[in-house]
């Protein structure tokens, strides 16, 4: 790994980080992308139907396309985890989990968000024994079984659709009387499937089973009931990975999202942010908005670096 001072280190290799790398390469900004997985959270998406160039594509395929573009343009994408950022413009130090320390003039945080867990006491015990957080990863193990999906958003909806092609029956648990802000296109697809049962106003209160998940206790309209199932997929949203900025004293909002200006700059000079970790794009956290924010951030950084020479 290069130990010289980069112009830019991009933390995160999801659509925001990779698009920023594409723009940075074309702007001839010497940069490196550090991320756990090229593509980030989008790699778990079963089907993406709202990216302009694709009618329908899996998250993994789209991630590979974007990664290939970034690499072809010269982007250096390194698998790694950033533990800490210290210093200030133009002397930031980036500490990686493997012990490497990198130096950079500027930083772009495109660190995304992490999945929420249910917060039930025996959640860890059932992980891998019926409880899962990635439908595309673990769904194929539940062929012809009864499974549940918890959560009322778009991610839950796509998990429900994906699982309905594998499982005997999918029970969809959500808190409201209707799923929360789910695209009508997904709801239309769900209504076409005969093996999906909508469980509105349902809160998961307990996970049941000895060695393997065998059911859940739900609270529904003030009544408690036990429901048998063999798999439960948790899709209840995510929280922003903004701790690297918080350690430096940067501003985040009440939800922990990094506050940025129109050019994606954070409140720390020399640090920008893009993608799901920010307050940008009116809170619409999509692949295309992450790409857009990555492009804007790279442009801002280019102009900033030009002003400094």
């Amino acid at each position: 790994m290069e130990m010289g001072v980069k112009d830019l280190i991009i933390v995160g290799a999801g659509p925001a980080g990779l698009t920023a790398s594409i723009y940075a390469s074309r702007y001839k900004i010497e940069h490196q992308v550090i991320g756990l997985l090229p593509g980030g959270a989008m790699t778990e998406a079963y089907k993406i139907c709202n990216f302009p160039s694709e009618v329908s594509i899996s998250g993994w395929e789209l991630a590979q396309k974007i990664e290939n573009n970034a690499r072809q343009l010269g982007g250096e994408i390194v698998a790694g985890e950033v533990l800490k950022i210290s210093g200030h413009y133009p002397n930031f130090q980036v500490d990686l989990a493997d012990g490497h320390k990198l130096a950079s003039k500027t930083i772009l945080l495109a660190s995304g968000a992490k999945r929420r867990h249910l917060g039930l006491p025996n959640e860890d015990k059932f992980l891998g024994k019926g409880l899962a957080y990635c439908a595309t990863c673990d769904g194929p193990f539940f062929k012809d079984k009864i499974v549940g999906v918890v959560g009322g958003g778009n991610c839950a909806a796509t998990a429900v659709i994906f699982l309905s092609t594998i499982a005997a029956q999918v029970l969809w648990f959500y808190l409201g009387s209707e799923p929360n802000a789910v695209e009508p296109g997904w709801l239309e697809e769900i209504n076409k499937q005969g093996n999906i049962k909508l469980m509105a106003r349902s809160e998961i209160k307990a996970l049941l089973g000895d060695n393997h998940l065998s059911g859940v206790t739900i609270k529904r309209e003030n009544k408690t009931e036990n429901i048998n199932l063999e798999g439960l997929f948790v899709e209840i949203g995510s929280d922003p990975n903004s701790s690297l900025l918080k350690q430096l004293g940067g501003t985040v909002n009440e939800g922990g999202y990094i506050v940025v200006d129109g050019g994606q700059a954070t409140t720390i000079p020399g640090i920008w942010a893009a993608g799901d970790v920010t307050t940008s794009s009116n809170g619409l956290r999509q692949i295309i908005t992450a790409c857009s924010e990555g492009a804007i951030a790279a442009d801002s950084i280019f102009k900033f670096l030009q002003r400094q020479v």
Partner: protein
């Protein structure tokens, strides 16, 4: 240079159950993003731990490997099982960072 061994039902007993050194078996599939995330971490770990441990992989997407997925009750991947003297002594599920996985493996083997 430590190589990662590809496992099938045909070589599982020789490479894992009858291995003279402990074996970490990674159950994975090409469709699984977090499994792809673990791949370079396991390669680094194979280099780092050298002769102390063998690292091997089972592609559960391969129909030929289904008996192994069923026998070891794989329902969530990546799922890394640690074998010593032919016995499964630990299981690590989901993406793990290299340093903490290495420490947990060494703790289980000590």
């Amino acid at each position: 240079m430590a190589q990662i061994v590809e496992l099938t039902p045909a070589n599982f007993a020789t490479e894992v159950l009858n291995s003279k050194i402990p074996v970490l078996v990674d159950f994975w599939a090409p469709w699984c993003g977090p499994c792809q995330m673990m791949a370079p971490i396991l390669e680094n770990l194979a280099q780092e731990l050298g002769d102390k441990i063998k690292i091997a992989k089972v592609n559960v997407d391969d129909p030929d490997n289904q008996p192994l997925a069923v026998e070891y009750q794989i329902q969530s991947i990546p799922n890394m099982k640690l074998f010593k003297n032919g016995e499964e002594i630990a299981s690590f599920i989901g993406v793990r960072q290299q340093a903490s996985l290495r420490q947990d493996i060494l703790d289980k083997l000590s």
